[in-house]
């Protein structure tokens, strides 16, 4: 098959593109988790603030990715740069992460919260020892959705100068080369499936066996 031949002959380039893809996503997801989990924690006790933040997030979510890239590169100072690409991905992670953090932190069984308070645990300790550990599966699910989404959206960043797996598809389109398109599509798809799998592993690592396999 031509696609296989293309893959074998261009392994070096393909690995380079994959590396670029990974770097972009890792940068974006690290920033996204740090920022959006913090925001989720900050707004956890204020319904009004949470509503506002989530409204903005779902508005961003409904902006098509090509349009968001377009808007970002038009902002002076960002332009056709990696910052624009990372920022776009981070913005898309806003809704799934904040919503899941907010819902999960507030979804902790009131009886558990009361027991924790009744034992004299401070608000901070309750957050770190009770709420966050219990929220971990749901928060992870949000991060997982974000990353899978990012893998696909990152391919479109080739139009704003990224040189990742999207190049294969874009070049395939330009040159009408189905082998390139297929290789690109297959690798990106395999990539998102692989990440899904990794998150399964991560869950075993981070989530207490006492609540594993449940969705709160």
């Amino acid at each position: 098959m031509r696609a296989v031949r293309y893959f074998v002959n261009n392994l070096d380039r393909i690995l380079g593109y994959t590396a670029q893809h990974v770097v972009l996503i890792v940068m974006a997801i690290l920033i996204a988790v740090l920022v959006w989990v913090s925001v989720g924690i900050l707004v956890r006790n204020s319904r009004r603030m949470a509503r506002g933040v989530l409204a903005v997030a779902s508005l961003i979510m409904s902006v098509p990715s090509v349009a968001l890239y377009g808007i970002l590169v038009s902002i002076p100072g960002l332009g056709l740069s990696r910052q624009s690409a990372v920022l776009a991905l981070v913005l898309y992670a806003m809704l799934p992460i904040i919503r899941n953090v907010y819902v999960a932190l507030n979804g902790v069984d009131p009886a558990i919260m009361e027991a924790a308070r009744g034992m004299g645990m401070s608000t901070r300790r309750i957050l770190w020892r009770v709420q966050l550990p219990l929220a971990t599966p749901v928060v992870l699910a949000g991060v997982r959705v974000s990353v899978v989404m990012m893998v696909g959206i990152a391919t479109l960043a080739v139009f704003i100068g990224e040189r990742n797996l999207g190049v294969l598809i874009q070049q395939g389109l330009v040159r009408t080369r189905s082998d390139m398109i297929i290789v690109g599509a297959v690798i990106v798809s395999a990539f998102s499936i692989g990440i899904d799998y990794l998150f399964g592993k991560l869950e075993r690592l981070l989530v207490s066996p006492g609540i594993r396999g449940e969705t709160t």
Partner: protein
């Protein structure tokens, strides 16, 4: 130990206060049970002690110190807290759950480990089998026990329990109640216990606080409550079977008739008749040569018997007996069940201690009521 001084609590959403001018003292080592219809303010009262809710007015003292001016977390670390839904942390093992407060207090891990095992044993759970389990692997009753162990972990002098046995089946419930009573005999904590079950209140409480619409209606011992309800509401709440309930609080010895004529199995008919002549009762207790009770013989039978030892075939065994620690309620139950007017009380099932008579129970209870009847107040002329 715990003092409420004119405490009220209003929720913004309610027109009347949830708790209204509550004043009451719980003495050290005693169990005070709050009971009343749903929504009367029991839970609110309890949660004001560890300041899950803050009172709107009034003062609460715990161990002689003003609870409201203490550091909230410190106050709570000194109060054990058990709730109906257990509130066990599902992501912690049984060990970690019980260890929560000792760790908060900064105990070293060795001491924590020793304490956790000791506590599990105390509440009747095998430590080896249970320490590494997660709450979802426990039955309802086991969860409740872990909840109690966790509340007692740092040996707090005060325990708050909100319907701790409300969510388990009746058999487990009775079992937990009994274990709790045995445990409380040992540890002697000051306990505030909430229930809406009057029977549980009577069983568990040294004192019972009956509440209605946020107000304390009566605060008394179970006996006084049953014998002299303060008003119509209390009487109704206790139920029309309160005279039956009172029976379960009254011990047998009060009505036990100990003076009894006893004859040996081996005695001659003459001796038996002589005993009847000297007694106004119509029955004699019959013992064997080792002083074990074998039954009784009636006057008329003794008169019918012909030969010296022929009376032996008229000896009738007792259909039922009672242990000395039985209550009047048990006695009554046995009498009704076997359709008899008297039941013997036997120590370790063969040493005769006396008889309980239905008539005696009736008159004793009647007297008890009369004694506690609230005195008629004579209105002073204005």
């Amino acid at each position: 130990m715990i003092r409420f001084s004119n405490v009220s609590k209003r929720y913004p959403s309610m027109t009347r206060p949830a708790v209204d001018g509550l004043s009451l003292d719980v003495e050290e080592g005693q169990t005070c049970v709050f009971v009343g219809p749903s929504g009367c303010g029991k839970t609110t009262t309890l949660k004001m002690i560890n300041r899950i809710f803050e009172p709107s007015s009034g003062k609460i003292y715990v161990n002689g110190r003003d609870a409201l001016s203490q550091d909230q977390d410190q106050l709570r670390q000194g109060i054990g807290y058990v709730i109906q839904k257990t509130g066990l942390f599902p992501h912690y093992t049984v060990f970690e759950n019980v260890a929560t407060v000792p760790r908060l207090l900064g105990w070293d891990e060795k001491r924590v480990a020793v304490r956790v095992r000791e506590l599990l044993q105390l509440v009747g759970l095998d430590p080896d089998e249970n320490v590494s389990k997660y709450p979802r692997e426990l039955s309802g009753g086991q969860s409740q026990r872990v909840g109690v162990a966790r509340a007692m972990a740092a040996d707090p002098p005060v325990m708050l329990m909100d319907e701790p046995f409300g969510a388990v089946d009746p058999i487990t419930r009775t079992q937990l109640q009994n274990e709790f009573l045995t445990l409380q005999q040992k540890v002697r904590k000051t306990i505030c216990f909430v229930t809406h079950d009057i029977d549980e209140a009577i069983k568990m409480g040294d004192r019972i606080a009956i509440m209605n619409n946020g107000r304390l209606v009566q605060y008394d011992t179970p006996e006084n409550l049953l014998l002299a309800p303060a008003d119509e509401f209390v009487a109704q709440f206790i139920g029309s079977d309160r005279s039956l309930k009172v029976l379960s609080l009254l011990p047998l010895p009060k009505v036990l008739k100990r003076q009894f004529r006893v004859v040996r199995e081996s005695a001659e008919l003459q001796t038996v008749r002589a005993s009847f002549d000297r007694s106004e009762r119509n029955r004699l207790i019959v013992e064997d040569d080792h002083s074990n009770v074998v039954g009784y013989v009636t006057r008329s039978d003794a008169e019918k018997a012909g030969s010296a030892r022929g009376w032996n075939r008229f000896i009738k065994p007792f259909p039922a007996t009672l242990p000395p620690e039985a209550t009047l309620r048990d006695a009554l139950a046995v009498m009704l069940q076997h359709d008899v007017g008297a039941v013997p009380v036997m120590e370790s099932s063969h040493t005769f201690m006396g008889m309980v008579y239905l008539d005696d129970i009736r008159s004793y209870v009647g007297e008890a009521y009369q004694e506690r009847e609230p005195e008629q107040t004579v209105e002073a002329p204005s």
